[in-house]
């Protein structure tokens, strides 16, 4: 191997020098100097390539998965859950960094954080686990448990969970079309509908009877689900019990 071959080969892969590279390096003082420079550049290059990923990235990926396929049904190991909750809390999902509220109105960031923590938390097996379709009567039952009545259909529900939020019963649905996750909460968090999006997630918080409807879904590359017709359907179907 001559010096030119050595340098070409080294530049193509300085990370794992082959035995012929090492042999030339040991015999050639110029190439030893050259290899030292390349080694230093390689360290700087590694530092340059390894940009810092945004905070809470993994949590947002898992959140998005839970929005399209239902929440985690197994109790996650404790350490895992705490780490996720911490990353959600520090990144304050819902405001600023990654969910940019579209209309300038601020939702209490604590609410957004708690909603996300709820969606990432462990759930019991859902009502639709077997058939991927929840009978109308069970949908009505879940809403009644949360203090809501009905005067119409929500549409096809793929799954539903009897959940709690701030110690109150809420209804948690996965809608069959699209799919969209819906939470019906007995708290009046918003006065008007508020849209938000970011990091592959879009959603809306809207008043619904005496409480709040939260719809969340995944979107990327411009393929955004129009949530407003679904909001109108929920608002007309759900009444105070």
């Amino acid at each position: 191997m001559n010096c030119l071959e050595f340098r070409k080969k080294l530049l193509a892969d300085p990370r794992a020098p082959t035995s012929d590279l090492r042999a030339h390096r040991d015999l050639c003082p110029e190439c030893t100097v050259f290899a030292g420079r390349i080694e230093r550049m390689e360290q700087a290059l590694t530092e340059a390539v390894l940009i810092e990923p945004p905070e809470g990235l993994a949590a947002r990926i898992l959140l998005r998965r839970s929005l399209v396929d239902g929440p985690s049904v197994r109790a996650p190991p404790r350490r895992h859950f705490l780490a996720l909750a911490a990353s959600v809390a520090t990144a304050s999902i819902g405001l600023g960094a990654f969910l940019m509220w579209r209309r300038g109105e601020e939702v209490d960031s604590a609410v957004a954080r708690e909603l996300v923590a709820h969606l990432l938390g462990a759930h019991p097996p859902g009502l639709g686990a077997q058939v991927r379709r929840v009978p109308e009567a069970d949908v009505v039952g879940l809403l009644a448990r949360a203090g809501f009545g009905t005067r119409g259909s929500l549409g096809e529900v793929a799954n539903g969970w009897p959940c709690e939020f701030r110690q109150q019963p809420i209804a948690h649905f996965l809608m069959a079309a699209n799919p969209v996750t819906a939470l019906v909460l007995p708290f009046d968090f918003v006065r008007r509908a508020q849209l938000f999006f970011g990091a592959g997630i879009s959603g809306i918080l809207a008043p619904c009877a005496h409480g709040t409807l939260a719809l969340l879904t995944a979107f990327t590359g411009g393929r955004e689900v129009d949530l407003e017709p679904l909001v109108e359907r929920f608002q007309s179907a759900i009444i105070s019990a």
């Binding site: 030119l4 340098r7 070409k8 530049l11 193509a12 892969d13 300085p14 990370r15 050259f34 420079r37 390349i38 230093r40 550049m41 700087a44 290059l45 590694t46 530092e47 340059a48 390539v49 390894l50 940009i51 810092e52 990923p53 945004p54 990235l57 993994a58 947002r60 990926i61 898992l62 998005r64 998965r65 399209v68 396929d69 985690s72 049904v73 197994r74 996650p76 895992h80 990654f98 970011g198 990091a199 592959g200 995944a218 990327t220 590359g221």
Partner: protein, 170 residues
């Protein structure tokens, strides 16, 4: 017993950061990079049955992300020479220690994608020339040439060793 969700969570935690870095160097845009990572993992969730082997899953994710990037963004990406690295959001955000790394990041953003992509795969994935060749649909010889040229351009741009430039010229 194999559990889809447990394995998906493990994959996300192990690989989302590297996948994000690869995405960033493909599109050179932080928000687009996260969208690409999200879309790639959405596909991985649907393909989990075939991703039980970790090393295979890693390669699958990188190739899938690359395809998503081509599908969503390649047509709207400006020509490489039009990119002003100082306008790339977040390019320098987390570099404070090494001025050389800072300058390299700037030069990396200016490299044609044909050169930067194999380089980034080698640095973040530790892949061999053959592995990169099969991911990028190139011959191993073409990958070796691109890796050599990529580093040669970076060195030239840094003006680290002007006396070594003849190596490239010959």
């Amino acid at each position: 017993m194999w559990n889809r969700e447990t394995q998906f969570t493990a994959l996300v935690k192990a690989l989302s950061n590297d996948l994000y870095r690869y995405a960033f160097w493909l599109c050179r845009h932080r928000e687009q990079a996260e969208d690409l990572v999200q879309e790639t993992f959405a596909r991985a969730w649907r393909a989990m049955d075939n991703l039980r082997d970790d090393r295979a899953a890693r390669a699958w994710l990188l190739v899938t992300l690359r395809r998503e990037h081509a599908r969503l963004y390649e047509r709207i990406r400006p020509a490489q020479t039009d990119i002003d690295p100082d306008s790339v959001p977040g390019l320098y955000r987390d570099l404070d220690s090494s001025t050389e790394a800072w300058a390299l990041r700037r030069q990396l953003a200016l490299l044609p994608i044909e050169y930067s992509e194999p380089l980034v795969l080698q640095v973040i994935g530790g892949y061999s020339g053959e592995e990169i060749a099969s991911m990028l649909d190139l011959t191993p010889a073409a990958v070796t040439t691109r890796l050599f040229r990529a580093r040669q351009q970076l060195r030239r741009a840094l003006r680290a060793d002007p006396e070594d430039l003849e190596v490239a010229a010959r």
